[in-house]
């Protein structure tokens, strides 16, 4: 395969372990220390939600280089499935979330099938078209979705008899989900599956000539990424108790794309940094509505031109400069 596509950067395994444990401990303490600052907890919940969707997006778009524009639509499908299961059919929260994730994953795998046969940009069209169809159906299929006004009165989660009441409950739920998404993505990135996905992303022809089943791996990556989006959707439905097509429109796709570009398309830490930054900034900019999308556009163009590998690439360059190791140069495809 054409060499590892991203330079292995950053601290060694032991330091990583410490960093993980420290961060998780700090995050666990946040609601204990700040239980009166509802605004802060809400921001964290949004951040965890964004991180979950973005990790899924990273697996699909960043690692296996399948240009999906359907991530937000799939996230929406997860939300509507969970809403129907819990509100209409009376399924309890945990199984509803699992089913939503699985179905979302399968839907993702299904739309990956036409795309996986062709090169990059075509998939963008299929998925864009799919996202539009989903959006139209969300507004039209009234019995299942509540139509354009949305789906109301989604019950709050109840896990093993424990009823969710305050913001802190949701905080822990979303934290757990974001951690799951993070470790799934990390595991995927470092597993043979993930390395093959990266190799396919670099050059599908070389990967195929080495005997890799490109088709199957692409669909698997799509399944994982979509499943994470489905979980996020289910959790969002239970958190907001009200969902409408508004929440799953193109504007959200653009927000996530901006985060991916800023983080760097292949970097997990970069994506996390971008989520933190944009959750806070979007919260401030929401009042200026169309300007936030304009700003997103300019940020995308700026990063593409100035820092095409994003914050992740920058961090890895800095690390190599500090530790005196020269980064391995990515092989340029001669075309």
């Amino acid at each position: 395969m054409s060499g590892s596509s991203e330079v292995r950067a950053g601290p060694g395994p032991r330091a990583r372990m410490l960093l993980h444990v420290g961060l998780i401990a700090a995050l666990l303490l946040v609601p204990v220390l700040f239980h009166e600052h509802l605004f802060l907890l809400r921001l964290f919940v949004q951040m965890f939600l964004g991180a979950t969707v973005l990790m899924g997006f990273l697996v699909i778009l960043g690692f296996s280089k399948q240009f999906s524009l359907a991530q937000v639509a799939i996230y929406g499908i997860g939300a509507y499935i969970a809403a129907n299961l819990t509100a209409t059919l009376g399924v309890s929260f945990v199984p509803a979330m699992l089913i939503s994730g699985l179905v979302a994953g399968l839907v993702g795998a299904l739309i990956a099938i036409p795309g996986a046969r062709f090169v990059g940009p075509w998939l963008a069209l299929v998925t864009f078209a799919f996202a539009e169809i989903v959006r139209i159906l969300m507004a039209r299929l009234k019995p299942l979705t509540g139509g354009a006004v949305g789906f109301r009165n989604i019950p709050r989660p109840e896990i093993f008899g424990y009823r969710f009441t305050g913001e802190a409950d949701y905080y822990y739920l979303f934290l757990a989900m974001a951690l799951l998404a993070y470790f799934v993505t990390l595991r995927f990135r470092n597993s043979p599956q993930g390395r093959i996905a990266l190799a396919i992303g670099d050059n599908p022809d070389i990967a195929a000539s080495l005997g890799v089943n490109v088709f199957r791996h692409r669909i698997f990556a799509f399944f994982i990424g979509s499943m994470l989006a489905g979980f996020a959707g289910a959790a969002f439905a239970a958190y907001a108790t009200y969902i409408s097509p508004e929440s799953f429109g193109l504007a959200h796709t653009i927000h996530y794309l901006t985060m991916l570009v800023v983080g760097g398309l292949e970097s997990i830490p970069g994506a996390l940094l971008a989520v933190i930054f944009f959750t806070f900034s979007h919260n401030q900019l929401m009042a200026l509505h169309p300007w936030d999308l304009i700003l997103d556009g300019f940020i995308i163009l700026l990063f593409m031109n100035v820092m095409p590998r994003g914050l992740g690439g920058l961090a890895s360059d800095l690390w190599h400069r500090r530790s005196g190791k020269r980064p391995e140069i990515k092989a340029e495809a001669a075309s």
């Binding site: 046969r117 062709f118 940009p121 299929v126 653009i254 991916l260 169309p290 556009g297 163009l301 095409p308």
Partner: protein, 296 residues
């Protein structure tokens, strides 16, 4: 629902008309894709911006219809060329996904700036030609639409002649086929790519003004029409200009006929389903030979 052949015939005529504007958008996609390998998601927004420029020129400048159309064409072409020069020229060697996201960023900027400048309400163009329908047998013809369609057809023919009969057009086709080869015979590929963005935006702009005349203009027209143009380009065969043209007309007819057979609400769903089906079963397009070299 009762089946009415006259009504269907009307939908077909209407479909051809809408299809011409889709064809122009498809040609714009194909041209920019062929020279710079960029799938440009901002084409629909180029069309919308041109329509708004034309609208403002009509109402603010004492230039008449032809003058306003010229102003908006020059404006949109200049905008696209500037954009290519500033934001995209350095990116062609990078990941194509990044470029695609870049064009989505551009479309977001353009769309929301238009929203801020011109407001969210849809507006209709002043009438320049008679709009009272004329009956030709069972088919209903609106004279204004005949004018619009002729303008679109003339634009397409001019474009085709430019690409095949002039030195500059030939140079652009050469750049599209093989940048290195084109450079070797003394063509400046950067200039050609830049020009192709301008020319592509101009085609999209003509389509935008056509759509604006037949329906009206709104901020949302960009997304939908851009996607229709895309679908037409794929339907015909990407990067192949005559085929993209045919694709546009086919999509226009299918879409309007299906609106008659099913329901108007699901018109867009039909268009998008067509994309998925075509990509599944005939990814090279309906009218292009599969596996052939990319030609424009």
């Amino acid at each position: 629902m009762e089946f009415d052949p006259g009504l269907l015939a009307n939908q077909v005529v209407w479909g051809v008309m809408v299809g011409i504007s889709y064809s122009l958008l498809a040609m714009s996609f194909s041209l920019i894709f062929a020279t710079s390998n960029t799938i440009n998601f901002a084409i629909g927004e180029f069309a919308m911006l041109a329509a708004y420029l034309c609208f403002t020129a009509l109402s603010k400048l004492p230039v008449g219809f032809v003058g306003a159309a010229l102003v908006s064409m020059v404006g949109i072409a200049g905008f696209a060329m500037l954009l290519e020069r500033i934001a995209f020229r350095r990116l062609y060697d990078l990941d194509p996904i990044l470029i695609l996201i870049g064009t989505i960023g551009v479309s977001s900027i353009v769309k929301n700036l238009v929203l801020i400048i011109w407001g969210p309400y849809s507006m209709s163009f002043p009438r320049y030609f008679p709009v009272e329908p004329v009956m030709l047998g069972p088919v209903l013809i609106i004279p204004q639409n005949v004018v619009v369609v002729s303008v679109g057809l003339v634009a397409m023919i001019c474009f085709h002649l430019f690409m095949t009969r002039t030195r500059l057009g030939t140079a652009m086709r050469a750049t599209a086929q093989n940048i290195r080869g084109a450079t070797l015979v003394g063509i400046n590929p950067r200039l050609c790519v830049n020009l192709s963005w301008g020319l592509g935006a101009m085609m999209a702009g003509i389509a935008g003004v056509m759509i604006a005349f037949t329906y009206n203009i709104s901020v949302d027209m960009g997304g939908a029409s851009g996607l229709k143009g895309f679908t037409s380009a794929i339907l015909g065969g990407f990067g192949n200009l005559p085929a993209s043209m045919a694709g546009g007309v086919v999509l226009g007819i299918v879409e309007n006929a299906s609106a008659e057979v099913f329901s108007h609400e699901y018109k867009d769903v039909v268009a998008f389903t067509v994309i998925v089906l075509i990509l599944l079963f005939k990814p090279s397009g309906l009218f292009a030979r599969s596996g052939g070299a990319r030609r424009i």
